[in-house]
Amino acid sequence: MQSLTSRARPVERKPMTFVERLYLWNIWKGMMITFRHIFKRKATISFPEQKRPFSPVFRGLHILNRDEEGRERCTACGLCAVACPAEAITMEAAERLPGEEHLYREEKYAAKYEINMLRCIFCGLCEEACPKDAIYLSETFAPSNYQRKGLIYGKPDLLIPDPKENPEEYRKALGNRAKKQEAN
């Protein structure tokens, strides 16, 4: 059979030579290899102080977006829930009452919006399904939790900070992925 790569080598079963049977010389060679590794660059990243950068296509925790005036973009159309292959998203819609125009962009909004992070597979189909650019996946991941119910994220966990009240946190939460979306 023709081999797929040129790296395959047949196993050698020759009897050991005298130098090999002494072991010492080969042990010494091995020791020099490990000694050289002392001075090599360490592969470890000291996690809490130092973080591995995410790649630009990383899909992490969901964020419910607001527009520039701080109004929620979500209209509770349910397209994300339909698109979700893991059925992780549930929502309840409500009608915007007079006087709430500064809170919600459209006449309908999501009164309850929950994502079960234990079910979610972070595929990003909700992001693609959303016609209002209301949901996108950020560059963080879900922290661990002691209980299942702690991993069902509601609106307070998912909503981005208000850009008017604390613009700094808003920009931090927005990250790189949301900008790309606004350009589209």
């Binding site: 072991y23 010492l24 042990i27 020791m31 290899i33 490990t34 000694f35 002392i38 470890t44 000291s46």
Partner: protein
């Protein structure tokens, strides 16, 4: 009668007690930090960082490990032989500590106008004593493995016992060649000769090599760690042990490593002699007590190099197979040690003619 009782040299008793307590606590602390060093050495050789969270550079890690072992549940299997089960780790620890009694840790120091030797006892059969105590170390393994009442432990104990007993032979033979040169079994005399002349390793390179290999085997360190073979015998003779009894076994291994490094440094590398320095001239300049301190530090530096060698080898090469282990001992090392002994004897005779 009362006069005789009062004439007892109380200072001698106190001096020896202080020395014993000091040496035992030093070897315990060193064994503790050997565990830390082992993890650090393993880490840097595998391009990792090693423990660095507990305290600066992780130097409190051994304390955390010890605390963890103390907190663990003490389990004694109900089919085990209870008495022997407890005796095993005690014996391992005891034999590990006893060897330090005859090692000269430095020159004399002067305390309250008295000359105090930094050696607990300078008996005239020093090396034989070391040898005797080291061979008792096998009982720790044997009893531990037997008392666990478990096939894996018993197999490991048998392996360990036959390994340690086998490797004592070439070790003894290589020492005989050394003793032909020194003409004395006294540790202080052997060190004294090396302080005046060359180190013994220059006369006995082959003997040192054999001794080194046997020391690896006696300490049950890789490549000879068959008694605790993690992957085939489930940690061997300390499989059933938990909590501080396991801690004692692990600790005894590290103390053994320390003591055998000290013995190698003492017998072959000049002991507490400061290399490349004229000792008498330095003694004139800085005084006796400082000199003894420097000598002690020198011995510890030599020991540290050997301990690093132990770890370096451990994290480099895999374990021998059992038949390879026995072949190496009986077919290679013993003939080699015999050859070395006869050669030394012939040269000694020829030079004395």
């Amino acid at each position: 009668m009362q006069v005789v009782l009062l004439a007892f040299d109380w200072f001698f008793l106190i001096e020896k007690l202080v020395l014993i307590i000091g040496i035992i606590s030093v070897s315990l602390v060193i064994a503790m930090y050997e565990t830390y060093a082992e993890r650090k050495v393993a880490a840097v050789m595998q391009d990792r960082r090693g423990p660095n969270r507990a305290g600066p550079f992780g130097i409190l890690q051994p304390l955390a490990d010890g605390l963890k072992l103390f907190m663990k549940e003490e389990i004694i299997p109900n089919t085990s032989n209870r008495m022997l089960f407890v005796l095993g780790p005690c014996l391992a620890m005891l034999t590990a500590m006893m060897t330090s009694a005859v090692i000269p840790w430095g020159g004399n120091i002067e305390v309250f106008g008295r000359q105090v030797s930094l050696q607990i006892t300078d008996i005239n059969i020093g090396i034989l004593y070391v040898f005797g105590v080291v061979s008792m170390g096998v009982y720790g393994i044997m009893i531990g493995g037997w008392a666990s009442n478990n096939k894996f432990s018993l197999l490991a104990a048998l392996r360990g016992a036959s390994q340690v007993i086998s490797y004592e032979l070439p070790m003894g033979l290589s020492l005989i060649a050394l003793l032909m040169l020194t003409g004395s079994l006294k540790m202080s005399v052997i060190v004294g000769q090396q302080m005046d002349g060359w180190y013994n390793v220059l006369y006995q390179p082959l003997g040192f090599l054999i001794f080194l290999i046997c020391a690896f085997a006696e300490c049950n360190r890789t490549p000879f760690d068959l008694p605790e073979a993690e992957n085939e015998l489930n940690f061997g003779y300390h499989q059933e042990y938990s909590s501080m009894k396991l801690g004692f076994y692990l600790f005894a291994e590290y103390i053994n490593m320390f003591i055998s490094s000290v013995i190698m440094a003492t017998l072959f590398w000049g002991g507490y002699d400061i290399p490349f320095v004229n000792d008498a001239a330095l003694m004139e300049r800085i005084g006796q007590n400082w000199m003894a301190l420097l000598q002690g530090l020198c011995l510890f530096a030599k020991t540290a190099i050997f301990i690093f060698l132990f770890m370096w080898v451990r994290w480099t090469i895999p374990r021998f197979r059992y038949d390879q282990l026995m072949n190496l001992c009986w077919k290679r090392l013993i003939p080699l040690a015999l050859f070395n002994m006869i050669l030394t004897a012939a040269v000694v005779l020829w030079l004395k003619k």
